[in-house]
C-alpha cells in the first residue's frame, strides 16, 4: 500500500461568519505549509497541538497573502490520525483561495468532499455510522439540521429501530418456535393477535418514514417552487426573498425560462427556492421545455408558492394553475398589493382553496407574514423535538420502506392463512432491512428469545 497523498481543502464553515480555515492532512502537511509560512520558528519544530502566528506568502512574487494563525496537530491524536495543519485566515474568501492554491502548488492534492472524514474512518478514528453522521453535520446547512445530525449521532434513531426490531423478533419467535419445536408444547399462534402486533409495528415504522421528509428538509432544504403565469412577479419575489438581484427581471413574458436555485433561511429552515417559467401553453421550443420543467418542479417540490397578480382579473391560466397544484403543499400568494388597497379589487380570491397571503414583491410588504406561513407549513406541527428520531438518510428511508412492506406482506399472509414459514420469511426480511441500518444480525437473538419465552426441551 503506497502512502496516501497529503490533501488540502477550505473546510466548510458551520456557522455564518466563522473564520475560513484551510486544512492540510497527511504525512507532508507540515512540510508543505512550512514552504509558504513565515513565523517565529518553522512548523517542523513545533510541538503537537500548538498554535502559531505568522504570515503566508506567495513564493513566486514574494508578496504577503494573509496574516494567519496556524495550528499544528501531529498524528495520531488527530481527526484523521494523520498530521494536520489548519490555517485560520483573517481575510476574505479570495485570501483563502490563494492559500489553498499555494498548498496545491507545493504538492498537496485537493481533497474530495468528505475526504477528511473518509480518512478518519479508514484510519480507524470513527465508525461508519459516525462517519455518516459527520457527513451530515458537515453538510447540514442550518442549525436545526445540525442538532438533528448530532442527536442521530447519539443514536436516537438507532434506539427506536432496535426497539422495533426486538418487537418483530418476538413475533417471529412465536412462528419459529412453532416450526422448529412443533412436537413440543408450544402454544398455537393467535393469528389476529399477531396481526394486530404487526400492524402496530408497521405504523411505528411508517411514522419513522414520515420523518424522512422533515429530516431531509432540515439537512438539505425544503424544495420550494415558485409558480405562476408570466409576469405575476415570480422573479421579483425570489429576488426579494434572497435580497439580491439574482434572477433576471424582465417585462417580456416568459423570459425566466430556466429554473434558478437559491437557498435562503426562514426561521432556521433552509428553503431551496426554484423560480420557474410560468405554466402556460407553450408557443416555442424553449418555452415548452420551461413549462415541462415547472410541471416537474411542482411534482417534486415539498412546498409550492403559487403566485397571482392581484391587480388583474384572474384568467384561464390562473384558473388552470389553481387546480393543477396540490393544495396540501401549496401556499397561495397574491402579489402587487402596492397597486391596490385591502382586498384585490378584481381578482376573485374566493376561487382559492385556502386563504392567500397578500404581498408586494416590490415593496416587500407582507413578506414577513409569508415567511411565517412558510415555516408553519413546513414544520408547523411536525417539527421534531431533538429527542425524537428522525430519518435523515435516503438509504435509511429505503430500508425502512422495505421493512414496512415486508411486514405488510406478513399481515396479508396471516389473513389468507399463508404458510407460517412464509410469514416468518417476510419478518426475517423486515429484520434484515432494519438490521442494515443498525448493523445488527438476528440469528442469535432469535434463539435467545425462543428459549426465554417458550418452554422448549425434551
Amino acid at each position: 500500500m503506497g502512502e496516501a497523498p497529503t490533501i488540502a481543502a477550505i473546510s466548510t464553515s458551520l456557522g455564518a461568519g466563522a473564520i475560513g480555515i484551510v486544512r492540510l492532512s497527511g504525512a507532508a502537511a507540515i512540510s508543505i505549509c512550512d514552504k509558504v509560512f513565515r513565523g517565529k520558528l518553522p512548523l517542523a519544530e513545533a510541538g503537537s497541538h500548538t498554535i502559531h502566528l505568522g504570515t503566508i506568502f506567495d513564493t513566486t512574487s514574494g508578496e504577503i497573502v494573509d496574516e494567519v494563525l496556524v495550528s499544528v496537530m501531529r498524528a495520531p491524536a488527530t481527526y484523521t490520525r494523520e498530521d494536520i495543519v489548519e490555517v485560520n485566515c483573517h481575510g476574505n474568501a479570495v485570501a483563502q483561495q490563494k492559500v489553498l492554491s499555494l498548498f496545491l502548488d507545493h504538492g498537496a492534492q485537493l481533497a474530495t468532499p468528505g475526504e477528511f472524514t473518509r480518512r478518519a474512518f479508514l484510519n480507524g478514528r470513527i465508525d461508519l455510522a459516525q462517519a455518516e453522521s459527520v457527513a451530515r453535520i458537515v453538510s447540514a446547512k442550518t442549525e436545526a439540521g445540525l442538532k438533528m445530525a448530532v442527536s442521530q449521532l447519539e443514536g436516537v434513531l438507532s434506539r427506536e429501530i432496535a426497539s422495533i426490531r426486538s418487537s418483530i423478533l418476538r413475533v417471529l419467535a412465536t412462528f419459529e418456535a412453532g416450526i422448529d419445536f412443533s412436537d413440543e408444547d408450544v402454544d398455537e399462534i393467535d393469528a389476529s393477535d399477531a396481526g394486530k402486533q404487526l400492524r402496530q409495528l408497521r405504523d411505528r415504522i411508517d411514522e419513522l418514514i414520515e420523518t424522512a421528509l422533515t429530516g431531509r428538509v432540515l439537512s438539505e432544504g425544503v424544495l420550494t417552487a415558485i409558480v405562476g403565469k408570466p409576469n405575476v412577479g415570480k422573479s421579483s419575489l425570489l429576488n426579494s426573498l434572497v435580497m439580491r438581484e439574482r434572477a433576471i427581471v424582465t417585462e417580456i413574458p416568459g423570459t425566466t425560462r430556466d429554473t434558478i436555485e437559491e437557498i435562503i433561511s426562514v426561521g432556521g429552515i433552509p428553503l431551496k427556492l426554484t423560480d420557474t417559467a410560468g405554466l402556460r401553453p407553450a408557443n416555442d421550443e424553449v418555452e415548452k421545455l420551461g413549462v415541462e420543467r415547472s410541471r416537474q418542479a411542482i411534482r417534486e417540490a415539498d412546498l409550492i408558492l403559487c403566485l397571482f397578480d392581484g391587480s388583474q382579473r384572474e384568467d384561464d391560466h390562473d384558473r388552470a394553475l389553481m387546480t393543477s397544484v396540490p393544495a396540501d403543499r401549496t401556499i397561495y400568494v397574491i402579489n402587487k398589493c402596492d397597486l391596490f388597497r385591502g382586498r384585490p379589487p378584481v381578482f376573485n380570491q374566493g376561487l382559492l382553496p385556502s386563504r392567500p397571503v397578500v404581498i408586494s414583491a416590490m415593496t416587500r410588504q407582507g413578506l414577513r407574514i409569508l415567511k411565517e406561513k412558510v415555516a408553519d407549513k413546513v414544520l408547523g406541527r411536525s417539527f421534531p423535538s431533538p429527542q425524537s428520531p428522525v430519518v435523515t438518510q435516503e438509504r435509511h428511508r429505503r430500508l425502512l420502506a422495505d421493512a414496512s412492506e415486508a411486514i405488510g406482506r406478513a399481515e396479508q399472509g396471516l389473513r389468507v392463512r399463508l404458510g407460517e414459514e412464509l410469514i416468518a420469511e417476510e419478518l426475517r426480511l423486515a429484520l434484515n432491512s432494519l438490521g442494515e441500518i443498525t448493523g445488527e444480525t438476528f440469528m442469535e437473538d432469535l434463539l435467545d428469545v425462543i428459549f426465554q419465552e417458550f418452554c422448549i426441551g425434551k
Binding site: L128, A131, D180, E421, T441
Partner: protein
C-alpha cells in the same frame, strides 16, 4: 502396524460416516474405537431426524452417506413432522431400533474392502512440522497416518453425574478418554467443557397405555434414502403423557440434590434440552410439560422418557416418574444421567473441518461442540471426504450456506463458535425455503457423484425426477382454466373464490388454499404424473416468488462470498477497524469476505474497510 491414508478415531455417528466416505473414495482407512460392541450407539433417544435434523440426514444420503439408509433399515416408527406447515419446514423423524441400528451400521463397515476396524484407545497425536503423522495408542503402539479424523464424542475427560454419584466415564458403562485432551492442548488447540444429559428408561411392561395418548407412525411412510424401497413394516407406537403439579412438587422438594444446585455440573448444557429440574425452576407457572414415552427397539422393553431428562439421584428419579399419568407403576431400567466432557472450540477449524493448527487433522462430531447424531454424521461425512481429498491432493469440498444445511452447520461452527452444544434448527438457515427435505438430492447428488459416493444410476434418477418436475411446471405456466360450474364448485369446496373469466392455472395455484391435487380433473396432464412429481412441482410453484427473492439475495451476497481472503493476510494491520474485530478476524481467519461478515463483532463498516484493503493487497 502399517500406515493408513486415513485413520478415523471413534466409532460413533461421526466416525462411521467419516470412515465409510474415506474408504469408499479409495483411501486405505482404519477405524479405531474403544469398543467394537458399541458402534453407532445411540446413548440418548434412538430417534433420527426431526425438524432441521431430518434435512441433515437427507443431505447425508444425497451425498452418499450412510445415516439415511441405515435408519430406513432400522426404524420401528417413521413420521413426517410439520405436515400442517409448509414443505420447507417438514421433515422426517424416525424412531430406530437401537440395537438393529448398531448392527446394520457395523455390517456396512465390515463390508467395505478398504476399511479396517481396530479396538483401541488413542492417547496422543504424533505431529511433525505442524502436520499430523500418526497416532499413539494407550498401549504405546504407533500407527502412521497421512490424515486423521478425530470423532471422540463425549469421551474426552468425560465425567458422569447422577445425583451425588460422580465418576469418570465417556458414557454410562464406558471408560473415558483421558490422555487425548492433553495431547490436543499440547499441540495448541484450545478446549472447553460442555454437558449433556439423558432421561431415565423404564420397562414397557410396567406402563399403562390406557392413560396415555397413542402416537402412531405414518401409514405408507416416506423414507430418508433415495435408495430405499417403500416399506410397510409393522410400526411401534409412542405414547404421549405429561407431568403434573405433583411431579413438579416432587422435583421442587428435591432440587437441593440436583446437580444444578449442588454445582457438580458447572459447564453449559443445551438450552433446547433442559432437564425437568431446569423446567421447574424456569417455568414455575406451568403445571404440565409433555412427556413422550418412546420404544427403543423390538427386542427390548426399554422405553425412553422424552421430556424427563434429569440427573437427580436414582431414588428421586423413580419418585418423579411415578407421578406421571400412565407411569404410576413403572419400573426403572436405566437411570438418567448427565455427562460433562471436553470439546475443541470449533472456530479453530477451517470450513473443511481441518484444524488450522495442524495440517491433515480433521475434527468431527460432538468433539466440535455439537450435539445430536445427525449433526455428528454430517460433520463426519464432510471430514471423511476432505481427509480423502487431501490425501489425494485435491481441493476440499466446502458446502455453502445456500447449498445445504450441512454448509450452515459447519459455517456456524467455524465462524461463530458455540456457547452451548450446537443443534440444528431450520431457523438457523437463512435460505430455508431453498434447503428443503424434498430437494436434498437435487441439490447435492451431483456433488456426491463427483466424489464417487453416489452411483451414476442414482444421479440419473435424480436428474429425470427433476426434469419431470420442470416439464410439468412449464406446462402449468401455459395452461389456462375456463370458468365452469364444476371448476367453481371445486374452488368453493376449498373455500376459494370462484372465477368468472379464464385464468392462468399458475395464478390460481398461488392461492394458499388450493393444491394441484384439487385441479386434477381440470388439467389433463396431471392425470398421468407420479405423486412425487406433482408434490414437488407444487412446492416449487408455491414457493417460486420467495425462491426468486432468496436467489436474488444469494446473488447479491455472491460478491462477498467470492472475494477470497489470502491465508497469509494480516488482520492486525487494519487500522480502520475496531480492535475487537481485528482480534476476531485474526483468530478465525475467514477465507472469504462473506465468512468474515458473519463473525460476531465484525460490523458492516469493518467489512467495507476490509474490502478496501483487500483490493489494495491484490
Amino acid at each position: 502396524m502399517p500406515g493408513f491414508d486415513v485413520i478415523v478415531v471413534g466409532g460413533g455417528h461421526a466416525g462411521c460416516e467419516a470412515a465409510l466416505a474415506a474408504a469408499r473414495m479409495g483411501c486405505s482407512t482404519l477405524l479405531l474405537t474403544l469398543s467394537l460392541e458399541k458402534i453407532a450407539l445411540m446413548p440418548c433417544n434412538p430417534a433420527i431426524g426431526g425438524v432441521g435434523k431430518g434435512q441433515l440426514t437427507r443431505e447425508i444420503d444425497a451425498l452418499g452417506g450412510e445415516q439415511g439408509r441405515n435408519t430406513d433399515r432400522s426404524f420401528i416408527q417413521m413420521k413426517m413432522l410439520n405436515t400442517g406447515k409448509g414443505p420447507a419446514v417438514q421433515a422426517l423423524r424416525a424412531q430406530a431400533d437401537k440395537k438393529l441400528y448398531e448392527d446394520n451400521m457395523k455390517r456396512a463397515l465390515v463390508r467395505e474392502p478398504n476399511l479396517q476396524i481396530l479396538e483401541g484407545t488413542v492417547a496422543a497425536l504424533n505431529v511433525s512440522r505442524e502436520t499430523i503423522e500418526g497416532l499413539t495408542l494407550t498401549d504405546g503402539s504407533f500407527i502412521p497416518a497421512r490424515s486423521v479424523v478425530l470423532a471422540c464424542g463425549t469421551f474426552m475427560r468425560g465425567k458422569i453425574v447422577v445425583g451425588d454419584q460422580i465418576f469418570p466415564a465417556g458414557r454410562m458403562g464406558e471408560p473415558p478418554a483421558i490422555e487425548l485432551s492433553a495431547s490436543l492442548t499440547h499441540e495448541g488447540l484450545e478446549l472447553s467443557r460442555f454437558q449433556s444429559a439423558t432421561p431415565p428408561r423404564i420397562d414397557a411392561r410396567s406402563i399403562n397405555p390406557d392413560r396415555m395418548k397413542v402416537e402412531p407412525g405414518d401409514l405408507d411412510p416416506e423414507l430418508f434414502s433415495i435408495s430405499s424401497k417403500p416399506d410397510n413394516r409393522r410400526q411401534i407406537p409412542c405414547y404421549l403423557t405429561n407431568t403434573t403439579a405433583r411431579t413438579h412438587e416432587v422435583v421442587r422438594n428435591h432440587l437441593h440434590l440436583s446437580p444444578i444446585k449442588t454445582g457438580s455440573v458447572s459447564s453449559k448444557g443445551p438450552r433446547y434440552c433442559p432437564s425437568i429440574d431446569r423446567k421447574v425452576i424456569n417455568f414455575p407457572d406451568r403445571d404440565r410439560h409433555p412427556i413422550f414415552v418412546e420404544p427403543e427397539g423390538r427386542d427390548t422393553t426399554e422405553m425412553y422418557l422424552q421430556g424427563l431428562t434429569t440427573s437427580l439421584p436414582v431414588w428421586v428419579q423413580e419418585k418423579v416418574i411415578r407421578t406421571v399419568p400412565g407411569l404410576e407403576n413403572s419400573r426403572l431400567m436405566r437411570p438418567g444421567y448427565a455427562v460433562e466432557y471436553d470439546y475443541v472450540i470449533p472456530d479453530q477449524l477451517t470450513l473443511s473441518l481441518e484444524t488450522k493448527a495442524l495440517k491433515r487433522l480433521f475434527l468431527a462430531g460432538q468433539i466440535n461442540g455439537t450435539s445430536g447424531y445427525e449433526e455428528a454424521a454430517a460433520q463426519g461425512l464432510v471430514a471423511g471426504i476432505n481427509a480423502a481429498l487431501g490425501v489425494q491432493g485435491h481441493e476440499p469440498m466446502i458446502l455453502r450456506r445456500d447449498e445445504a444445511y450441512i454448509g450452515v452447520l459447519i459455517d456456524d461452527l467455524v465462524t461463530k463458535g458455540v456457547d452451548e452444544p450446537y443443534r440444528m434448527f431450520t431457523s438457523r438457515a437463512e435460505y430455508r425455503l431453498l434447503l428443503r427435505h424434498d430437494n436434498a438430492h437435487s441439490r447435492l447428488a451431483e456433488t456426491g457423484n463427483r466424489l464417487g459416493l453416489v452411483s451414476d444410476a442414482t444421479l440419473a434418477e435424480v436428474f429425470s425426477h427433476r426434469q419431470r418436475i420442470h416439464a410439468l411446471l412449464a406446462t402449468l405456466k401455459n395452461t389456462r382454466l375456463q370458468p365452469s360450474e364444476r371448476l367453481n364448485g371445486a374452488l368453493k369446496s376449498r373455500g376459494s373464490a370462484t372465477i368468472r373469466e379464464d385464468q392462468a392455472a399458475w395464478q390460481l395455484l398461488k392461492r394458499p388454499e388450493l393444491h394441484l391435487e384439487d385441479l386434477k380433473p381440470f388439467i389433463a396432464i396431471l392425470s398421468n404424473q407420479a405423486d412425487g412429481t406433482i408434490k414437488n412441482a407444487e412446492i416449487e410453484l408455491k414457493y417460486s416468488g420467495y425462491i426468486a427473492r432468496q436467489q436474488e439475495e444469494i446473488d447479491r451476497c455472491a460478491s462477498l462470498e467470492d472475494t477470497p481472503i489470502p491465508p497469509d493476510f494480516s488482520f492486525f494491520d487494519l487500522e480502520g477497524i475496531t480492535i475487537e474485530a481485528r482480534e476476531k478476524l485474526s483468530r478465525i481467519r475467514p477465507s472469504s469476505l462473506g465468512q468474515a461478515s458473519r463473525i460476531a463483532g465484525v460490523s458492516p463498516a469493518d467489512i467495507s474497510v476490509l474490502s478496501i484493503f483487500l483490493r489494495a493487497f491484490r
